[in-house]
Amino acid sequence: MTTNDNNLIDATTENVSGLLARYDSADSLKAAARSFRDAGYTKWDCFSPFPVHGIDPAMGIRRTRLPLLVFAAGLTGGIIALLMQWWTNAVDYPIIVSGKPLFSIPANIPVTFELIVLFAAFAAFFGVLAMNNLPKYQNPFESSEQLKDSTRDGFFLGVEANDPKFDQAAVSDLMNSTGAASVESCLAPPPAPPLPSAVVWGVATCCILAVVPLLVVAKMRVSLKEDRYVHPVLDMDYQPSLGTQDRTTLFKDGRTMRPRLAETVAQYDLPRDLGIDQQLAESDEFYEHFMYGLVDGEHATSYPLPVTDELVARGRERYDIFCATCHGISGDGNGPVTVRAGERGIGAWNKPPPMHDEYVVKQTAGKLFHTITNGVMRSEVQAMPGYASQIPPQDRWAIILYLRALQRSQNASIDDIPEDKLRQLR
């Protein structure tokens, strides 16, 4: 109930939450504040559209401790920043960048300074809200329509009913005597209605549903997935360049891959001087024998090329290049790599068997060809890699021939030496 004169109409209801007085100016509000401070009230406040100069001592408001909080937060931010930079760049994963020191105060100041300011600003902002108890959408005087003027041009002083010294008559007398333009009693705001259950259930459902994607992510983090994972950013997966079997309109025959031009040589083409092109093209058996070392589906026992001194010499040259590193110059298995593996104690190294061992001597030429081409698996591990990409077929046959010579060299008797060479030995 409001009144325009200085009389207060007694409220007959019991739920008076406080008394609100309106003053004409900031100065009269300040004077009134001093009176109320001196009278010993504690639960009271002044309301104004701007901070009134000098009202803090007039009300007896103690200086806030917010600056301490802000200082502490800033200090914390600085320490966190320095620790973070030191630990990540100098301890956990040190990377040398342009020879700059891993941790140096001048270089690390900018981030440190920014985090000091950031933490301090958070403390100032959230601190002032917390200390002011904001957000708070209820106050004891809100039943007063006049109070809305406090954000426009009105100056108010309000005493809450739950102040220990509250007495309606005494307070209103003091208000009137300090020059209040009007005194109003405010009623306690009605209790806020409970939220409709639909809202509560709706919010709860949303919260529960929001957890589901997180659980899915957590599950996926610890499980293996067989198919390709979802790949939203295609990067360079699909390129405009043409693939081998693609159609194209660039050429009349529509093929991307072009047939070999006359007089050009393909990558694994044979040197012409082997003279077997025609035979390779015409005879499937010869092709199988030459390319795969197979005769009638079995490992061949004969050579597809004529066995000559030149071929053996070629084999020796190729063996020394490709095979001797592991198998040794004499084929005993003590090539430099094997020796080094032994010196370094690498147990995982598969030591090649000596070439003159009986079980290797017994292998057919076709089997040897298969070994050179595809390598050897031992205990589910590739013990010897395949050399198909490095040694063309004709050289493989040459190496096999030389291999036979090596094997013969370790398994020979004096009777195998021809007459003319015998004389050199004696």
Partner: protein
């Protein structure tokens, strides 16, 4: 300076015996509140707002469409190429960040200097800061190439066991710009809470009551609240002051910490900060001159306010001019051939037109501000401010591009040409900035009413308030 009696609406006199009023006309707390609140409360917004908003929204949509094009296609849509790997995107980034700094200066630094005239313009300028920082932050974000991986810049534990390189100014930039955006936002919002409470108390429709009520956080304007609020405001101002100086210094480190001639110089931090304040104040004038006319705020943003802003612009123009001359002098005095060539190239090389545009717009044209007529006539200062905006963009362009087109090895030299996407994205960023700004003008309190009233109170007590 003048002691003759000035007409009632001119408070630009400098008579030391009479402090000039900061709010003109027969204003009281109520009329000021009404003047500002009614701008947001009008049931029908003036048509001009819709017209301009339509244009700026179209530009904003274009901006985001071009960003989409960039993400889908790649940075080749820009003119960036060897040797100019930083082109318009970085020029635009520095341009917008610089503009933002004026708002923080007005809010924070002028507050610490107890310049009460800031209260009419600080809300406006802080809003300009926020929106400029939004535009600024977009450009480095999108220029990285693989934008979907931009979170790699943050120090989070990852399966690659990698951490960011804290010795790089580019990373300092991440922290600086993020901190600046956050702190500016907090400062702006905290400053607005009392005014949002005013709006809340005046709201008639339920939607407005709810929205402004929620935003005002239940602010009641009690003395205890004001006490802590003032302390927090002071602390934020004290924090924001070194922050704004540090942020643009860190932006300048992007260049100064490199080894390129024309970039590797210790003048960059103060030079950039002065330039930022310069360009920011020019943008304040550009926005404020029309706004105060359209919204009828001439009694709050008085001629004295504009005069003061122009004085700051003039002084920063002189600082920037001094910096240009210092660079030239040091290039000569140092005897370093690469440095000398870098500056000769700027003035006489293929980008001479950009350099002289910059020099004219930033140093020569603002000298008219020595004359009071130019400082106090809105149309004239608006024209000068536009020139300064152009000149400051060119300054960043000259810094970034001329050094990159011609550095140490002549075989690496190349000429940079922007693509249409470069140009349209820049225009689009203006669209975003102005759209956000127009929304601010329509819905939020564009002048800090509580602070202006507080200043008027001080005037009243000193007996200087104009009663005319």
């Amino acid at each position: 300076m003048s002691t003759i009696a000035l007409p009632n609406d001119d408070n630009t006199g400098n008579d030391p015996s009479k402090r000039p009023p900061l709010v003109l006309g027969a204003s009281d707390y109520g009329s000021i509140t009404d003047a500002i609140s009614e701008i947001a409360e009008q049931p029908t917004t003036p048509r001009i707002w819709y017209v301009i908003f339509g244009v700026t929204s179209a530009l904003t949509v274009m901006f985001f469409a071009l960003i989409g094009l960039l993400i889908v296609t790649g940075v080749g849509v820009w003119g960036n190429n060897s040797p100019v790997f930083w082109g318009w995107p970085i020029v635009n980034f520095v341009f917008w960040v610089g503009i933002g700094h004026a708002g923080t200066l007005i809010s924070a630094i002028l507050f610490l200097f107890r310049q009460k005239w800031r209260t009419s313009i600080n809300r406006f300028a802080e809003a300009m800061t926020i929106f400029a920082v939004v535009c600024a932050g977009i450009f480095p974000g999108i220029h990285v190439g693989r934008i979907w991986l931009v979170y790699w810049l943050a120090p989070y534990p990852n399966e690659m066991a990698l951490w960011p390189n804290f010795r790089s100014p580019l990373l300092w930039d991440v922290f600086a710009i993020s901190t600046y955006a956050t702190v500016s936002l907090l400062f702006w919002y905290l400053g607005m809470v009392p005014d949002l409470a005013t709006f809340r108390d005046r709201s008639k429709t339920p939607l407005k009551k709810l929205t402004y009520g929620a935003l005002a956080l239940g602010w009641r304007g009690s003395a205890r609240q004001w006490h802590r609020y003032e302390v927090a405001y002071l602390l934020l101002a004290a924090l924001a002051t070194p922050l704004v100086l540090s942020v643009h210094s860190v932006v300048s480190f992007d260049f100064a910490v490199s080894q390129l001639p024309g970039w590797h110089t210790t003048i960059f931090p103060p030079y950039f900060v002065a330039g930022a304040i310069f360009s920011g104040f020019a943008m304040v004038i550009t926005l404020m001159v029309p706004a105060r006319a359209i919204f009828g705020l001439k009694h709050l943003v008085t001629t004295r306010h504009l005069d003061n802003i122009n004085k700051i612009m003039l002084s920063t123009s002189l600082m920037v001019g001094l910096a240009y001359c210092t660079e030239l002098f040091i290039a000569w005095y140092s005897g370093a051939p690469y440095e000398q060539f870098a500056f000769l190239n700027r003035a006489t090389g293929p980008y001479w037109w950009a350099y002289w545009t910059m020099f004219t717009c930033n140093v020569i044209i603002p000298q008219v501000l020595w004359f009071k007529k130019f400082r106090t006539t809105p149309v004239l200062m608006f024209v000068v401010a536009i020139f300064v905006n152009i000149g400051m963009w060119f300054e960043r362009f000259v810094i970034v591009v001329t050094t990159l087109t011609r550095d140490f090895v002549p075989t690496s030299w190349g000429y940079f040409i922007p693509t249409p996407v470069d140009i349209l994205m820049f225009l689009g960023s203006f669209g975003l900035f102005l759209s956000l700004f127009l929304l601010f003008l329509k819905f939020l309190p564009m002048v800090a009413m509580a602070e202006v009233k507080g200043v008027m109170e001080g005037d009243k007590r000193r007996g200087t308030r104009d009663e005319g």
